[in-house]
Symmetry: C2
Subunit: 208 residues, 2 copies
Amino acid sequence: METPVESTRERLLNVAEQRFGEGGYEGTSLRAITVAAAANIAAVNYHFGSKEALLRAAVARAMAPVNTERRRRLDQLEAGGLPTPEQLIRAFIEPGLELVLRRGERGAVVARFIGRIAFDPSQRIRELYAAESDPIEKRYLAALQAALPRATPEAVAFGYVNMLGLLALHQSQALSRAPGVTEPEDPGTLAENLIAFLVAAFDRGLRS
Amino acid sequence: METPVESTRERLLNVAEQRFGEGGYEGTSLRAITVAAAANIAAVNYHFGSKEALLRAAVARAMAPVNTERRRRLDQLEAGGLPTPEQLIRAFIEPGLELVLRRGERGAVVARFIGRIAFDPSQRIRELYAAESDPIEKRYLAALQAALPRATPEAVAFGYVNMLGLLALHQSQALSRAPGVTEPEDPGTLAENLIAFLVAAFDRGLRS
DNA sequence: CTCCAGTTCAAACGACCGTTTGAACTATGC
DNA sequence: GCATAGTTCAAACGGTCGTTTGAACTGGAG
């Protein structure tokens, strides 16, 4: 029996992403995770300390590249003068959908995990996600405000949470139940559709 | 000790709405519900049969007036010729936010319950909600398609699920964690903001 | 009063939960 | 070889879960 390329710790994180994304935090047991990861039940508390700490580690790992890419794009945009609303929306949506959906099977798993956790029923879990995406939030909001000078700060914030919510919804694939809707379209197309939808809403749908 | 005006069955439904809306289905135990409802733990299985049947009954009761109002508005609109997109969006959003948020404390509880269940982590639960709102869905989509002749059916369906998701998000109050956002605004204002947001997106943000 | 269907009750069922324990295994440094 | 730190293991901990049981209570009909 050869040693697996992935460490127990990595396998736990991978399976946690998948299972938490499928059944939510409360609906997924550590035993289900450890069995699927071919690990002992005690491995979770050895490597992470608790179920919630495992989730926290998984969220941090999943969000890191998204945050990095968003920061990079924001830097780049602000270096080139005043960004347009579309540029800012694109800089937010694409790292969440594209960067994560483009990398095949695992990308979709990660996206669903993030989308699910972002709007978990438990406020405790939601705050755990929020803490991970908070750093760029203020900066992003300020840029959005500058790009939409006619809209009030409250209106811009309203648009932002709507964008956040719609992204999470599409990431979590929770709307595949819709009528006559064949959601699993090309990730790129989905991103373009969502961006167009949001650009129109930000451009003409916010309180002045 | 006077007999309560509400029956055990009604108290169970009321508390179920509240608790399921707070913690989600998996995160809420029957014991928590029955204690808060001052009922015996066995009362749930006596009156409803199971935890899931209790949820189903609560969803049906909560959705009934919303569905009725949406149907009424759709009837009224279609009787007066071709409705505009804004009229259709209004006919969908307002019964979900207004009709339910206007009736004070309990309305907000019902709204949060519906919003939470609509995007529960478990697909089983989501389907349970979908079954309850399905009846008008096809009819509504057809009207929306007629009002937006330039958009493809796929684009209209895309807009519809976005509308559905944003409504559920605001109903569930899951975005109160946002930055500098003081979400608990007047329900009427929230409805107007959301409608304006969606009208702009439907009008100019869909694939032709 | 008796009867009976409807309802409530305390108690227990087996199953599963997250967590902990202490021994067993593994690999590396001396 | 031996010691040692890191990791994995089976087993069990107390607690909570949804559900079931059978007896006790309730209020009206005959």
